[in-house]
């Protein structure tokens, strides 16, 4: 693997800032985990509607929850990027990190599919095979993202 890109990231001012104080990393971890809880909570409510756990018309609620989950995701992703910058070599050849990225991309595509094809469903009391599939897939993918995220430390090769 070409390590120069990782070496360059490690030398950026952002990387230096992340490890410049003993307080920054723990604070970032706290933000990462709090935003994770908000993200999973809002996605769970949406996914439970998609799989038919409840069938209310809830278009405005889902709109709010999508916005909330996006904000939580941005906070989660930003802190994740800072972890990556601050300890780049931990992520090289790290199978847990690679699987986590794949699962996140799959979850994004799944969410996009929901938005384009099934977004209208929450304004009805209907549930379809498509919505059930999207809902369960989302739960599985995000569960996998959490598990792989926690595994990164244990699969670090550097």
């Amino acid at each position: 693997m070409n390590l120069s890109i990782f070496a360059w990231i490690s030398d950026t001012p952002v990387a230096a800032w992340v490890i410049s104080s003993a307080y920054i990393w723990p604070i970032l971890e706290c933000i990462h985990f709090v935003s994770l809880c908000v993200l999973i909570g809002s996605l769970l409510v949406i996914d439970l509607r998609l799989i038919g756990f409840y069938r209310e018309r809830c278009a405005s609620m889902v709109k709010f929850l999508i916005r909330l989950s996006l904000m939580a995701f941005i906070a989660n992703f930003a802190t994740g990027l800072l972890f990556f910058a601050g300890n780049t070599f931990k992520y090289i050849d790290n199978v847990a990190f690679e699987i986590k990225l794949v699962l996140m991309m799959a979850a994004g595509i799944n969410a996009l599919f929901y938005k384009v094809r099934l977004g209208h469903l929450v304004d009805t009391e209907e549930v379809s095979w498509g919505s059930i599939s999207v809902g369960y897939l989302s739960l599985l993918l995000w569960g996998g993202v959490i598990i792989c995220g926690r595994m990164i430390t244990f699969y670090a090769t550097y």
């Binding site: 003993a22 990393w25 723990p26 971890e29 706290c30 985990f33 709090v34 994770l36 809880c37 908000v38 993200l39 999973i40 909570g41 809002s42 769970l44 409510v45 439970l48 756990f53 409840y54 209310e56 809830c58 405005s60 609620m61 889902v62 709010f64 929850l65 569960g143 959490i146 598990i147 995220g149 926690r150 595994m151 244990f154």
Partner: protein, 161 residues
Amino acid sequence: MKFLSYLEASAFSEWVLTSMLGFPTLIALHSVGMAVAVGLSFMVTLHLNRVFIGFKAQLIPRLLGIAVWGFILNLITGLALFVSRGPEYIESYIFLIKMLLVVISAMILFWLRQYLRPMNLTTEVSVADRTAKNISLISTVTWFGAVIAGRLIAYLSEIYR
């Protein structure tokens, strides 16, 4: 303390600490349980406090029921992790703060689920009473406090060093 040392010396504890899967699996499932319990409790708090609307009253105890299952997963994996390092955890003040916050949060979760159960309205919970609103707000502080304290255990105590 003697009992905790006994647990720490057990075969299960050794498996947790030395096997490839033990500790990583438990900590990963611990996080899944945390995200479900804290996330759903927070969503119910937002709804009770009218930050967003859309649930029918009957749905709230059902959502809190799922949060309870998340908490149970969190509790079981937390106990398994505790067994492996009991004597060290018990001497960490940040761990004790986390435990206090978790106990308060869990009590509120169970109480809220029970308290909201008799409300058998067919409309949205538009006028959830003040007690439920305020107690749920307290649980948001304690849940997120527990999450933060949990993250800080590694930094503010000798465990994992």
